[in-house]
């Protein structure tokens, strides 16, 4: 039986990481529904969710047949690389080196592109709009599926991870339906910073477990690793900002 200290960090990591991806997919689906109506947006979204569910149904049971240590090492390495990528980008964005992701701008760009396509025949335009929604949900959903499979890659943790991701979908959809606008006020880079730290921590933790070395403090070590990587990220972004101010 797994304890709350084992399931809660996994569910929380899946929830926060998934919410970032779901917000990005929601912006595009919203643009499709504003320009072409709810039908192509819902059709594209549903089709993508069917494909993603099939992927989880195919790979979920397959993971159970892989030896635990081998799986933890493989998933740990992938999580480490994935998490470090997010953390690096979030540090560079926080330091002003990279531009922040702007949901309002993404919405305007997608809306413009869809309006340009609307000159085509009605059915063709609906088909194109449905494909845009399908693509957005499939691509962002691929990352959500990876996060769920990766943070849940220990016996009994797949369900809490899936529950966390599902909660993110419900939360973002609920918020989106309430405001009917792109969710631009969500501090996306802060979330990415946090998620980058969490995924890198999970990756480091599982690499060691996969190599057969337990962590001092057990699962609590994950919290220490998150704090370490976030502190390092904050220090790096502060150092970059300071260097830029000195150069100016």
């Amino acid at each position: 039986m797994l304890s709350l200290t084992q399931t809660a960090p996994v569910a929380l990591a899946a929830l926060i990481a998934s919410s970032v991806e779901v917000v990005e997919a929601f912006t595009i689906v919203l643009a499709v529904s504003v320009v072409r109506g709810v039908r192509p947006a819902a059709f594209g979204t549903a089709a993508a969710l069917v494909v993603l569910s099939a992927v989880v149904a195919a790979f979920g049971p397959l993971l159970a047949s892989v030896p635990v240590h081998g799986l933890q090492l493989a998933v740990g390495v992938l999580l480490l690389v994935f998490g470090l990528g997010w953390l690096r980008k979030a540090v560079l964005r926080a330091a002003g080196v990279l531009a922040l992701h702007d949901e309002d701008q993404a919405f305007a760009k997608q809306t413009r592109a869809l309006r340009d396509q609307s000159d085509a025949r009605e059915t063709a335009a609906d088909w194109l709009a449905g494909t845009v929604a399908f693509k957005a949900v499939l691509l962002e959903g691929t990352e959500v599926v990876f996060i769920v499979l990766a943070v849940g890659a220990r016996p009994g943790l797949l369900v809490p991870a899936a529950v966390g991701a599902a909660a993110a979908c419900v939360m973002v959809l609920g918020l989106g339906l309430a405001v009917r606008r792109p969710l631009a006020k969500i501090p996306e880079n802060s979330l990415k910073f946090l998620v980058g730290g969490m995924l890198t921590a999970f990756g480091t933790f599982w690499c060691c477990e996969g190599l057969g070395t337990p962590w001092p403090g057990g699962d609590w070590a994950i919290l220490g690793l998150v704090a370490l990587y976030l502190a390092a990220g904050l220090a790096l972004s502060a150092a970059l900002r300071q260097a830029a101010a000195k150069a100016a």
Partner: protein, 68 residues
């Protein structure tokens, strides 16, 4: 076809946005595994050595990203 291409690009972007970052992270894990197997790293020290390697990979990735 275009969707498949975009999917492949997304998966590529997930793990190799910065090849140097990916390579240094893989090197950190690989060196730790090799050091453990060769008894150069004590099992009790491995978590700390790996966390240090990950921090080094992050620092290199951020510095390289800032220079671009």
């Amino acid at each position: 076809m275009e969707v498949l291409r975009a999917l492949a690009a997304t998966i590529g972007k997930m793990f190799a946005t910065d090849l140097w970052l990916t390579a240094t992270a893989l090197a950190a894990v690989g060196l730790c595994a090799a050091g453990l197997r060769a008894h150069l790293i004590a099992p009790a020290a491995l978590p700390f050595v790996l966390a240090g390697g990950v921090l080094a990979a992050l620092t290199v990735g951020v510095i390289r990203g800032a220079r671009r």
